[in-house]
């Protein structure tokens, strides 16, 4: 076997440091979420308290469960819709050469560079006019601005790689474009769709600016906004325990998602960037 040089030890040290650096803020957040009242005034590095009061309070003091459901609903709806639109758009952009295609791709990419604030007033007006203010539909609608360009871009890249002869065989079998997209290509794009879908879901879940600006009442809020607005039960209590608890609640499923779909997520990220 190979000798155990200093290099190896250094490597493991670095790995440990990287691990701690990534994970420590959660660990500490978790610790803090288990403390309440005056226990928050002291700093502990190891778990000394194990109270779940904060967790209960999070659900009691605001409609956190509703907030979570809202987030789930919005993120799922936007992701599903964006994927559907993107897969059809990608077919046109990847497999049919027509005039203006390059320009269109470029424009689609350009939209993903928009600062969200730049469309805020315009969107606000539009959402109000459509009657979607303080309504989850308004969020689903506005979230297309960052989910759609990305999904179109990545799916176009993947669709370009599918063999031409497969498409031609389908044409010979009498398939029209819709059949080709949904019955021949879509099954082959499943991994790409999963990757893109995950990334779109996570982006929609984490979105803050639109969620903050386009909702008014607690019942319509999504998780990020709910956390940002958590205040203590009374003026004397520090809300930090609650905030940490709420954060842990929303982080755990995301950690699970990442652990399970690690490969897919990384594939999606790199595909989007590298083919840029």
């Amino acid at each position: 076997m190979r000798p155990f040089p200093a290099g190896r030890i250094l490597l493991y040290l670095l790995v440990l440091m990287i691990f701690l650096w990534s994970v420590f803020p959660f660990y500490y957040g978790f610790l803090s979420s288990l403390k309440s009242g005056s226990a928050l005034f002291t700093v502990d590095y190891l778990p000394r308290h194990w109270e779940w009061k904060n967790y209960r309070a999070v659900f009691q003091e605001q409609p956190y469960a509703v907030n979570i459901l809202n987030s789930v609903w919005v993120a799922t709806a936007v992701t599903a819709a964006a994927l559907l639109l993107a897969v059809t758009a990608a077919y046109a952009l990847a497999r049919i050469s027509f005039r203006g295609r390059g320009l269109l791709l470029f424009t689609v990419l350009g939209v993903s560079m928009f600062p969200q604030v730049a469309v805020l007033s315009g969107l606000f007006e539009l959402i109000r006019r459509l009657g979607l203010y303080n309504h989850l539909g308004g969020l689903v609608f506005s979230y297309f601005i960052f989910t759609l360009p990305f999904t179109v871009w990545v799916l176009t890249a993947f669709m370009r790689d599918l063999p031409v002869e497969l498409e031609e065989a389908a044409i010979m079998d009498g398939a029209g474009p819709a059949t080709i997209v949904f019955r021949v290509f879509l099954p082959l794009l499943k991994p790409a769709m999963v990757s893109t879908g995950l990334l779109a879901f996570i982006a929609a879940w984490n979105e803050f600016l639109f969620a903050l600006t386009f909702t008014l009442t607690n019942a319509q809020r999504t998780v990020p906004v709910a956390i940002a607005l958590i205040s203590g039960a009374s003026a004397y209590e520090l809300p930090w325990g609650r905030i940490m608890a709420a954060s842990v609640i929303v982080t755990l499923p995301l950690i699970l998602l990442v652990l399970v779909f690690q490969r897919r997520i990384v594939a999606g990220l790199t595909a989007g960037a590298i083919r840029g």
Binding site: L166, A169, I171
Partner: protein, 365 residues
């Protein structure tokens, strides 16, 4: 079953004219092979017939119908692709059934047709497998099965055997031949492999740079090539093509001078040529003979002998800066490298081509 007729078919991709203009008829029920080097346009021609590409101008008729503007599914043709193009996520059964499903045929009919085709191709044990689990030869059968199931008027095959290894290729050649007879179908097959072409075709169409060089039964093209291209393309090793010049023209005979002053008389109708015109003399390696005595021919020095077991190829240097002359001879008295030999060129096996490559007709009478 259908006759295919191409009238003035032209195809250009942007500014590049791949097919300048072709008129061709493929009789129904025949096994027609488009043969030519890579890039000659044979695949393009096939795709034009299939309807995968629109023609730039001209008309295509299949079974008496003008299909020029029709999409592939309306033309009643089926295609077997070079890479088979099987749907990876579907089973063999589903692959073969796909076209019929799209045409909304009912379940029992689909099952009947797929099973029948599977039996013909001996793949019924594979119906539940996915393409990734099949070997190359099996995939090819499925591709053919997918075509058969549609009961098309015409089968189009795009280099179906080129992805197979040597023995499988020989076996599939036989099967394709059987299949053709069994289905009584019109088949158009594209290949660059002349052995495949010679053995399978009823009708051979040699194509170069988008033009039909010659078409007809394979043996006719082999023994009476109408131009230098076809002469050099068919036959392996290729025909010896010797550059020369016209020296004397007589009613049914012309004398050609080869490099080194060698004079060869040929019985041919060279009335359209004049003295001094450059020409090409052709003779196949199997027709040239070694002769002990001086006769119509020339001397050469053996530079290489390739022993193939039942026969040998002898390469001779006969004139400066000319490619070696090849003679194919059955066993027996084989020369050795360095030997000098006299080569006889039997008059009846000689071909003569003019400057443009067109063949001179054999002597009349």
């Amino acid at each position: 079953m259908a006759e295919i007729r191409l009238e003035g078919v032209r195809k250009a991709f942007g500014k590049v004219e791949v097919i300048p203009g072709i008129d061709l008829t493929v009789a129904h029920g025949s096994f027609c092979i488009f043969l030519g080097p890579s890039g000659c346009g044979k695949s393009t021609l096939l795709r034009l017939i299939a309807g995968l590409e629109p023609v730039s101008s001209g008309r295509i008729h299949i079974g008496g119908r003008d299909v020029t503007r029709l999409p592939p599914k309306a033309r009643h043709v089926a295609m077997v692709f070079q890479s088979y193009a099987l749907y990876p996520h579907m089973t063999v059964f589903e692959n073969m059934a796909f076209g019929l499903r799209l045409a909304r045929r009912d379940r029992s009919e689909i099952e009947r047709r797929v099973h029948a085709a599977a039996r013909t191709l001996k793949i019924n044990a594979l119906l539940d497998r996915k393409p990734a689990q099949l070997s190359g030869g099996q995939r090819q059968r499925v591709a053919i099965g997918r075509a058969i199931v549609r009961k098309p008027q015409v089968f189009l095959l795009d280099e179906p055997l080129s992805n197979l290894d040597a023995d499988l290729r020989v076996q599939m050649r036989l099967e394709l031949s059987h299949l053709h007879r069994r289905l009584d179908a019109t088949m158009v097959h594209v290949t660059h492999d002349q052995v495949e072409a010679m053995t399978l075709a009823d009708r051979l169409v040699v194509i170069d740079a988008g033009r039909v060089m010659q078409s007809g039964p394979p043996l006719e093209l082999y023994h009476r090539p109408r131009n230098r291209f076809v002469a050099g393309f068919l036959g392996s090793p290729r025909m010896n093509l010797l550059p020369g010049r016209v020296e004397r023209i007589e009613p049914n005979q012309v004398t050609v001078v080869l490099p080194g002053g060698i004079r060869i008389p040929i019985r041919a109708d060279a009335s359209r040529a004049s003295r001094g015109d450059p020409v090409t003399l052709g003779i196949r390696p199997e027709h040239a003979l070694f002769e002990a005595t001086e006769s119509t021919g020339f001397r050469g020095r053996v530079t290489l002998v390739e022993h193939l077991g039942d026969q040998a190829l002898v390469y001779l240097e006969w004139a400066e800066s000319q490619p070696p002359f090849v003679v194919r001879t059955a066993g027996g008295d084989l020369p050795r490298v360095g030997d000098q030999r006299q080569i006889r060129l039997p008059g009846e096996s000689l071909h003569l081509f003019d400057e443009t490559g067109a063949a001179f007709d054999p002597a009349s009478g």
